[in-house]
C-alpha cells in the first residue's frame, strides 16, 4: 500500500512541476525554461533538504514534534552568516565569491551544530518538554543575537544580510545551485545507505546497541548530515519554521510505517508537492501576494500547537 501511495504522489509532484514550468508564461521559451527550471530545481533541493533533515532529526531525537528549525538550526545558520559579515566587514564579504561565502558558513555551521546539538542529544534526558524549551530558547537566542549584530553593522551594508534572515520562496539566489545540488545529492546518498540503520536507531538507544549499532557514532554522523542539509536550504530560501513539521506529520499519516526506506521518499515527495504546488498556486493560480512561507508557517504553527496540546493531554 505505501508503494501505491508513493506512485500517486510522484504523479502529483510531476503535475505540480509541469504547472510550475508552464502556467502563465509570457515571452520566449528560451528565457522562460531556464529561468523557471532553475527555480524549480532550487525548490526541489530545498524541499528534499527540509524533509530529510527533519526526518533524520526526529529519528535521532526519537520524537515527532521536534524539528531542526524548532531546535534553532536555521536560526543558527542565519546567525553565522551575519556574524561572518560582521567579522569580515560587509564590503570585503561582498567581494568574496558566493561559493566561498557559502562554504565558510557551512563549515562553521557543521562545527557549531555538532557542538551544540551534539551535546544536547548525547546527554539528553528523555524529557521532551525540556528539549522543546531548550530548542525554543536556542532559537530565540540566535535570532536575538542576530538582530543585535545586524544593528551594529553599518546600515548601508545591511542589505547584504537582510535577505538571508527571512524566509522567501519567490526570489531564490541560484548562484549556488550546482554545488548545492552536488552536496545535497551526496548527503542523500549517504542517508539512503543508512536507511536500515535509521530504523534500528528509532527503536531507542538500548535496543540499537543490543542489535549491534552504535547510537553515539550514528547520532554524530546524522547531525553532520542535518547541518549540511539545513545550510543548503537556509542559504536558498532562509529559515522556514514549520515546513518540516508539516511534512513529516503528513508523512506519518499518508505512509504510516517505521521503515525509512519508505518514509524518506514519501516525505521528500510531500515536501516537493507542498513547495512547488504551493508556490505555483500562489504565484499563478491565485495571484496572491501572500508569501508561501507565511502560509506554510501558519498551517505548521497551528499543527505544532495542536501536537503539543495533544501530547500534553495524554
Amino acid at each position: 500500500m505505501p508503494g501505491k501511495r508513493l506512485v500517486i504522489m510522484t504523479g502529483l509532484m510531476a503535475v505540480c512541476m509541469v504547472f510550475h514550468m508552464t502556467l502563465g508564461t509570457r515571452g520566449s521559451w528560451d528565457f522562460v525554461l531556464p529561468f523557471r527550471g532553475t527555480k524549480l530545481a532550487a525548490l526541489l533541493l530545498v524541499a528534499v533538504a527540509v524533509s530529510t533533515s527533519t526526518l533524520l532529526f526526529q529519528t535521532v531525537a526519537r520524537n515527532r514534534i521536534l524539528t531542526p528549525s524548532i531546535m534553532g538550526f536555521d536560526a543558527l545558520y542565519v546567525l553565522i552568516v551575519t556574524l561572518s559579515v560582521f567579522a569580515i566587514g560587509a564590503q570585503s564579504y561582498g567581494t568574496l565569491p558566493p561559493m566561498v561565502q557559502f562554504f565558510l558558513s557551512l563549515a562553521i555551521m557543521v562545527a557549531a551544530s555538532m557542538l551544540l546539538f551534539g551535546t544536547l542529544l548525547l546527554h539528553r534526558k528523555e524529557d521532551i518538554v525540556r528539549m522543546i524549551l531548550t530548542g525554543i530558547i536556542l532559537g530565540v537566542l540566535f535570532r536575538a543575537v542576530n538582530s543585535f549584530v545586524m544593528r551594529m553593522i553599518d546600515p548601508n551594508e545591511y542589505s547584504v544580510i537582510q535577505t538571508s534572515s527571512y524566509a522567501r520562496f519567490s526570489r531564490i539566489e541560484t548562484d549556488l545551485l550546482g554545488i548545492s545540488a552536488v552536496l545535497v545529492l551526496i548527503t542523500l546518498a549517504l542517508v539512503w545507505r543508512m536507511r536500515h540503520r535509521l530504523d534500528v536507531l528509532a527503536l531507542g538507544r538500548e535496543a540499537a546497541i543490543n542489535l549491534g549499532e552504535d547510537p553515539r557514532r550514528d547520532t554524530v554522523q546524522i547531525l553532520l548530515l542535518i547541518a549540511v542539509l539545513v545550510s543548503v536550504s537556509t542559504a536558498f530560501v532562509g529559515p522556514v519554521a514549520f515546513l518540516g513539521l508539516l511534512v513529516t506529520s503528513l508523512t506519518h499519516v499518508i505512509t504510516p510505517t517505521a521503515h525509512h526506506a519508505i518514509l524518506l521518499p514519501s516525505a521528500a515527495l510531500i515536501s516537493a508537492i507542498a513547495l512547488i504546488g504551493g508556490q505555483t498556486l500562489l504565484e499563478h493560480g491565485l495571484a496572491l501576494s501572500t508569501p508561501l512561507a507565511v502560509v506554510i508557517d501558519s498551517f505548521g504553527g497551528i499543527l505544532f500547537l495542536f501536537l503539543i496540546l495533544k501530547r500534553a493531554r495524554t
Binding site: H196, A202, L211, G212, E213, P256
Partner: protein, 250 residues
C-alpha cells in the same frame, strides 16, 4: 562463559557496583536475585554494553565487552532490559523482525523470516502479529519483546525480570522454553527474578546480590534457606524442602 573481573561502577561518587568478579558458566540458567536497588540491572547493562563500564573487564567467551565489534557481540549476546523503550507504532511482527537485524542488516533472507515466524508461533503471537505495540496489554507486549529476543538467536541471553506482567501459564512456558534452550541447544541464560520460587525450580545456579556486591552463589538447593533470605532480603520467610527443592512460604 561470561567472565566479569573487578567491575566497579560509580555514579555521582556512589559505588553502584563494587568490585564485582563473577563467572557465568555456559549452557546453564543463572538466576540473579537480590533486593530492589542491589545493582542487578546495572550489572546486566554493563555486560550487554548498554552502560560503558568504568573499571574492570568483561569477557563473553573470547570477546571483550567494550572493544569487540558491537555487531559481533549482537550475534553472541542479547539483552531484554527491565523497562525496554519501544517504538509504540511498530507492529508485533516488525518488532520481532528487528531481532534478526544483526544478521541481515536490513535485507532479511529466508532464514531470517523463518526465525521470525518461529518466534511468533512460539510466543503465541499469531493473532496479534500486525497489531501496533501500543495497543497491546502489558503481558502481550512483554511476550512480543521476548519473541524479539528469541529471534535474535544468541548463545547468551540476558533477561531482566522477563516475568513482569506475565500470567502463571506464560511464565511457566517461558521458563520451560529457557530450560529447553539451555539443555538442548546449550544456550546460556542470565535471568533476574524476584520470585525466588521460580529461581529454585528452573535455575541451575543462583547468584545473590546486595548493595552492589555479589553474595552467595550456587545451586538453589545449596544456598536458598531462611538465613540467606534474612541476610540478602532482610525478610523472615520459612523455607520448606519439597521434592528436594527449596520452596519459600510467601
Amino acid at each position: 562463559m561470561i567472565t566479569v573481573s573487578n567491575l566497579t561502577h560509580r555514579i555521582a561518587g556512589k559505588d553502584i557496583l563494587h568490585d564485582i568478579s563473577l563467572q557465568i558458566p555456559k549452557g546453564q540458567i543463572t538466576a540473579l536475585i537480590g533486593p530492589n536497588g542491589a545493582g542487578k540491572s546495572t550489572l546486566l547493562s554493563a555486560i550487554a554494553r548498554l552502560t560503558p563500564h568504568q573499571t574492570g573487564q568483561i569477557m563473553v567467551d573470547e570477546l571483550e565487552v567494550g572493544t569487540s565489534a558491537s555487531n559481533t557481540l549482537a550475534k553472541r549476546l542479547s539483552i531484554l532490559p527491565q523497562v525496554p523503550e519501544i517504538a509504540p507504532r511498530l507492529s508485533v511482527a516488525e518488532l520481532i523482525g528487528f531481532g534478526r537485524y544483526p544478521y541481515h542488516k536490513g535485507h532479511p533472507t529466508k532464514v531470517d523470516r523463518q526465525k521470525t515466524d518461529e518466534a511468533i508461533v512460539l510466543f503465541e503471537l499469531d493473532e496479534l502479529h500486525s497489531r501496533p505495540l501500543d495497543t497491546l496489554s502489558g503481558g502481550q507486549k512483554q511476550r512480543a519483546l521476548l519473541a524479539m529476543t528469541y529471534a535474535q538467536d544468541t548463545e547468551y541471553m540476558l533477561l531482566d525480570e522477563p516475568l513482569n506482567n506475565l500470567d502463571i501459564s506464560t511464565s511457566r512456558s517461558l521458563m520451560q522454553l529457557l530450560r529447553r534452550l539451555a539443555e538442548t541447544r546449550g544456550r546460556t541464560v542470565v535471568i533476574v527474578l524476584h520470585d525466588i520460587n521460580y529461581a529454585c525450580s528452573y535455575a541451575d545456579r543462583i547468584v545473590t546480590m546486595k548493595d552492589g556486591r555479589i553474595g552467595r552463589c550456587g545451586a538453589p538447593a545449596k544456598i536458598v534457606d531462611a538465613g540467606m533470605l534474612q541476610h540478602v532480603f532482610s525478610t523472615q520467610a520459612e523455607v520448606h524442602i519439597v521434592n528436594g527443592r527449596p520452596l519459600i512460604e510467601v
